[in-house]
């Protein structure tokens, strides 16, 4: 008697919770997107620093003296090509072609490594010329912003190699596809940040 009464009460009671879990289609991608947005704030702060300190040369070299425009153009092209190549790798992945995916990922990785290599060379050259990060507020903000971006790309390459080993070992499993999609967002995002870097820090820096 008591139990039946209890059950009727229970079934008539309003439900304050979802009987079925709302299942996001791909929680990882949305979560990773939110991480990228928070990464945007790091870069926004560094861009703000550069905007404020970009004219404080402390009688040292200005952007005009340290920027090598042809080298910058090559660097920009490398990163843009790397971004497109990664996209092609994602298309190969969508068609379940594991070997083509790995090949395109390798090309994207090599292009990005070329970008980082040229950037390190530029940094070494600048420090050797006495235009290191300790020279002026402008150079501090320059090295911090460009260096943070370069560090992101470097870690992206490490992540890429890790995933290439994973794909080589286990194939294009659901987990590996999800990871590659996240890395793809990271990769394209870094190219997007680079647009801001070369436009604002380098080209506008040379002009002002």
């Amino acid at each position: 008697m008591n139990t039946t009464a209890g059950e009727t009460v229970k079934s008539a009671a309003p439900a304050f919770y979802c009987t079925e879990e709302p299942h996001p289609q791909n929680g990882a991608l949305l979560g990773f997107w939110i991480y990228l947005m928070s990464d945007c704030f790091i870069f926004a702060a560094l861009f703000a620093c550069n905007a404020v300190l970009g004219g404080s040369y402390a009688a040292g070299p200005s952007a005009k003296d340290v920027v090598d425009l042809p080298g910058l153009a090559i660097n920009t092209a490398l990163l843009l090509l790397s971004s497109v190549t990664f996209g092609v790798a994602m298309l190969a992945m969508a068609k379940d072609r594991g070997r083509a995916t790995l090949a395109w990922l390798a090309v994207a990785g090599v292009l990005a490594a070329g970008f980082v290599g040229l950037e390190i060379r530029e940094f070494i050259h600048m420090v050797a010329e006495g235009a290191g990060p300790d020279r002026s507020a402008f150079l501090s903000s320059f090295f911090t912003l460009v260096g943070t971006h370069g560090l992101h790309v470097t870690f992206g390459i490490i992540w890429l190699i890790t995933l290439m080993v994973q794909v080589g070992k286990y194939g294009l499993t659901a987990d590996n596809r999800r990871r590659l999609n996240c890395l793809g967002m990271f990769w394209h995002f870094l190219d997007l940040i680079w647009v801001g870097v070369f436009s604002f820090v380098y080209l506008v820096g040379v002009l002002r």
Partner: protein, 138 residues
Amino acid sequence: MSRSSRSAEPRAMDPRQAHGHDRGDRVPHASLKGYLTGFVLAAILTAIPFWLVMDHVVHDKDVTILIILALGAAQIVVHMVFFLHMNTTSENGWNMLALIFTLVLVVIVLGASIWVMYNENANMMPMSPQYAHRKTSW
């Protein structure tokens, strides 16, 4: 092209149907044509500012700076649309909401920093003459 690939995958619209066989690889409307269009647009939008600066095309500095910033903003939109596949419907609009929130905060951070620090600089004590000449003498 975005419409066709969307309708070809009706399960993406219904979360319960996507439940069982989520392969984690549904990048909406990614296509080779899309990547190549994005690449060509990005290359053009990159080449113009480099050309403006390297060949000193426009004599007014401020105009050149404005053009470069406008082209940079356009290129960022190109990257968003063609490489990151941003649209208002992905993840039920949460991607776009997070992006708009970020943009608002970035504008506040950048705009306020530049505004405040510019006034700070403008109201600073003038530089003493023995250092003033060194600023341009590098």
